[in-house]
Symmetry: C2
Subunit: 111 residues, 2 copies
DNA sequence: TCAAAATACATTGCATTACTATGTATTTTG
DNA sequence: CAAAATACATAGTAATGCAATGTATTTTGA
């Protein structure tokens, strides 16, 4: 079970999927990085590494899909909160259409 | 519509997804390369390039998920037919489980 | 008490894979 | 008879997940 091929495949499936999942998570709430990893683990079967999340969030920021702000804590390390921009919301909607079309196709193939 | 970000994202989504789709297509029938591209275009919204398909099929073959055989034509260029191996079938079943779990998670996020 | 685990951020370099461009050759179509 | 379609293939580039590594603070459990 879970042969090397399947493991590598799962890693490839994450390319693209992770960005889509994160934008969906950020649609209704803002979250900080560590919290985003928890959300992904809570809502999906996906394992997300720190070395994946932080560069990804920086890309999304650079692309103008999210913004971020530092929030000081009364104790502990400051947190960087991310939120969707208007562009991010519009982009997410386009992505959803593509995803749903793809998914419909795949479900047909699974029968 | 279809901004540069979305286009690049769609390309990333294909990583992994394409292998999954092709294995599913080959589950019940054998097909040759060009025919596989037609099947993908017919059943999905995905555009697949020749430079994507042939290296991908070679990988799947190298991994032992498919075998291939040349079939001479009465006229025209010989065709290379691909079929799933037992390993390929077993691997596909593992992939389906992963995909369905992922998809269930994503559908929850879409609400 | 104090070491380990958890929280919280981040970067570097490697491995993998889709895609463009390019190449060869045959057959069909307008 | 030229263009498009059919049919295979490869080299090089771009993009991204991930392990490894680093810093720093707080909580937990033995």
């Amino acid at each position: 079970m879970n042969s090397e091929f399947v493991q590598k495949w799962q890693s490839q499936v994450k390319k693209g999927t992770l960005a889509f999942i994160l934008l969906n998570i950020l649609k209704d709430n803002e979250f900080y990085g560590y919290e985003l990893m928890e959300q992904v683990r809570k809502f999906t079967t996906i394992e997300i590494a720190e070395g994946t999340l932080y560069p990804l969030m920086n890309r999304l920021k650079k692309e103008g899909l999210v913004t971020s702000k530092w929030v000081e804590q009364e104790s502990g390390i400051p947190r960087k909160y991310y939120q969707l921009t208007e562009t991010g919301v519009a982009t997410l909607l386009e992505m959803r259409v593509y995803w749903q079309n793809l998914e419909t196709s795949i479900q047909k193939l699974l029968k």
